[in-house]
């Protein structure tokens, strides 16, 4: 249950990031779809304009042909050279019907014709079928693309009327691969893959932006069927494995239609790649956020695990530290109880002394654990800074240690009359813990040096030993609480692992700093700095001077 609770914040954070990313992705996809639709609509609208222009152009050509047949003085006699000359003159000046012309009887048989060369499609050509159908329906006729010796030719037909009566049919021809419609289409540019087409009712290409396409057949059935129904629209399809788009619009004459094809990747490219960039950016953000959350949580978990490990060690160390004095107290009490009658007064005093000393030690140990816990928890510890003479404090504490640990010579070197602003009890505690630490890690007989150096604004006090020292890695953590336990020497050196942590807290709360120099087997030097103040006696003297 605790494990599940521990992961709840991580899971919630990841869920929030994923939700934000998903909303972003959905929003991006939605915007992308809208942009694509706008692009489709624009293309269809453009296509309609193009179809409208084509319609007007063809209508103009039909009107022009009608005017020629109805206004020009034509004899309508088969083979009349004057009529032939008139047709030739018309073909020469006509903008669209530039290939040839023919006068056809109402029975469908031509009786006069002219062409620029190569001949006209024979009457039997199936391309005339839609043209005839339209004429019979009373509309201008438009053929499909017909081939004359490989040349694509399209025919338009209008009635030749006199006073409202149709006397004959005029059929005008243009080369599908060389005419103003083709020139116009050839100039239409749609990226690198775009193709503008004008197709007839059978799907044959009448005009194209690439003239080689003229006369070929456009093979996308749904588009042709839609054009046949007179519709305009947009279609996505696959051709030769490529995703393609086609916009189309019916011209409104002879089942013709304009079509623009392009690869889908080029047509949607900027939008889709833009959407892709947004999606990639969001996915990247998601990955970074998830990684950051994971690392943060991992770091926290590691810190917690370390704290748990340290606390566990504290408990183990404390138990050991309590066991030894309790063993001594109990042993002394049992021995006294059993043998006090036969003991000398000195022996009784010795055993009572053990009990007394060990009880004091236990009290100090408990006080230290409580102080360490209070400092670690960030609770207030009342310090009362006061002018304190350094040499005096050092003398007092070193002499105390000389008595406690006679096997370790403690040497002192410090200038006289140097004062710091520090709580005297805290200073005693700091120095006592540093000396205790130096002695603990020194071999028997190992010298411990205490020195003070007077600086301009602070006083540096160092405690050096020639003990076991420590590695660079240990130096980084030596002021962390309970760290001692992780050095693997718990069975060799006693202690709860709080001393140096307490020293650091007290020094820092006294406005000073602490550092350590050490190497394995080379001993250690702990140096603290404390804010220096002028000697109160000098202060008094200067005040006296001021009074005078």
């Amino acid at each position: 249950m605790r494990t599940i609770k521990r992961f709840i914040p991580l899971v919630v954070s990841i869920a929030v990031v994923v939700a934000v990313a998903l909303v972003g992705l959905l929003e991006s996809a939605h915007a992308n779809a809208r942009a694509q639709q706008i692009r489709r609509d624009d293309r269809v609208s453009e296509q309609k304009d193009l179809a409208g222009l084509t319609n007007q152009y063809v209508m103009f050509a039909l009107k022009d042909a009608f005017d020629f047949g109805s206004i020009t003085q034509l004899s309508l006699k088969p083979g009349d050279p004057a009529d032939t000359a008139a047709i030739r003159a018309y073909v020469k000046r006509s903008a669209l019907l530039n290939y040839g012309g023919a006068l056809v009887g109402l029975n469908g048989m031509p009786f006069n014709a002219y062409d620029v060369g190569g001949g006209l499609p024979p009457v039997s050509d199936p391309g005339y079928v839609p043209l005839r159908t339209e004429l019979l329906a009373g509309k201008p006729g438009v053929s499909t693309v017909m081939k004359v010796h490989g040349v694509p030719v399209v025919a338009l037909a209008v009635p030749v009327q006199r006073r409202g009566s149709t006397l004959a049919i005029f059929v005008g021809y243009f080369r599908a691969d060389a005419n103003p419609l083709e020139t116009y289409n050839a100039r239409l540019q749609y990226g690198k893959t775009g193709q503008a087409l004008l197709v007839d009712s059978s799907g044959s290409v009448v005009a194209a932006s690439s003239s080689s396409e003229v006369g070929t057949t456009f093979g996308v059935g749904p588009v042709l069927r839609a054009l046949d129904r007179g519709e305009s629209g947009f279609l996505e399809f696959t051709s030769n494995g490529k995703r393609m788009v086609a916009s189309y619009s019916a011209v409104g004459i002879g089942g013709w239609g304009t079509i623009t094809t392009q690869t889908a990747s080029e047509f949607f490219g900027p939008i889709r790649s833009g959407g892709l960039h947004v999606a990639l950016a969001l996915i990247g953000l998601l990955v970074v956020a998830a990684a950051a959350l994971f690392l943060m949580n991992h770091k926290r978990q590691m810190a917690l695990a370390k704290a748990y490990e340290y606390k566990g060690q504290l408990l183990a160390n404390t138990t050991h530290e309590l066991k030894t004095p309790l063993t001594a107290i109990r042993g002394a009490a049992v021995t006294l109880g059993m043998r006090w009658r036969t003991m000398s007064a000195e022996q009784v005093d010795q055993f009572l002394g053990i009990i007394h000393r060990r009880c004091d030690g236990l009290s100090k140990l408990i006080e230290r654990i409580l102080l360490g816990a209070r400092l670690e928890a960030g609770r207030e510890v009342t310090l009362s800074p006061a002018p304190t003479e350094v040499l005096g404090s050092l003398r007092a504490i070193t002499s105390e240690f000389k008595d406690v640990s006679p096997k370790h010579p403690v040497l002192l070197a410090a200038p006289e009359n140097v004062w710091v602003n520090a709580d005297p009890e805290a200073l005693d505690q700091i120095l006592g813990l540093l000396l205790e630490n130096a002695i603990k890690y020194s071999p028997e007989g190992g010298e411990v040096r205490v020195a003070a150096i007077d600086g301009p604004r602070s006083v540096a006090i160092s405690v050096s030993d020639h003990g076991v020292g420590m590695s660079a890695e240990d130096r980084e953590h030596i002021f962390e609480p309970y760290f001692r336990a992780s050095r693997g020497d718990a069975n060799r050196f006693s202690g709860v692992g709080l001393g140096l942590s307490i020293v650091r807290h007290l020094v820092e709360r006294s406005g000073g700093s602490i550092s350590v120099e050490s190497a394995p087997g080379q001993g250690s030097t702990f140096t603290i700095t404390l804010p220096k103040i002028a000697s109160p006696m000098e202060h008094a003297v200067s005040l006296e001077g001021a009074d005078r």
Partner: protein, 129 residues
């Protein structure tokens, strides 16, 4: 076999108490506070039993146990506050250790253990009708 008991203990108070209890039971206590001192005492005094504290500031009491194989007749008793730790029991099981006694247990327990290794007592008991 002598009636001497070697006491390897760096804590003066605990050494004084154990000394009083063991000597009170009729044994001569030879004290050492380091592994080196203990080895020197073994060579000169040839104790019957060695009471070994393993937590020492320089060389560990386990170092002494390792070297004590030089005196095969001497019984080794590891006398420690770490008696209830698996690591202690495992090390003791793999070395020449005759008993592990906790310092925090009944103070007279150590005297009972020493007595259990005292052949003279066994011989006297056997002779008793």
């Amino acid at each position: 076999m002598s009636d001497r008991v070697l006491l390897l203990e760096d804590d003066d108070d605990l050494a004084t108490i154990t000394d009083a209890l063991v000597s009170g039971a009729g044994y001569e206590v030879v004290r050492a506070s380091s592994v080196e001192d203990a080895i020197a005492e073994c060579e000169s005094a040839q104790p019957m039993v060695a009471l070994v504290d393993v937590q020492l500031p320089t060389r560990s009491g386990w170092d002494f146990v390792r070297e004590a194989t030089r005196w095969p007749d001497m019984r080794i008793v590891v006398y420690t506050v770490h008696h209830d730790e698996p690591e202690t029991m495992e090390r003791a099981a793999h070395m020449k250790v005759d008993a592990v006694v906790g310092k925090s247990s009944d103070p007279m327990r150590i005297v009972d253990v020493i007595r259990s290794f005292d052949h003279r007592l066994l011989e006297n008991t056997a002779k008793t009708p």
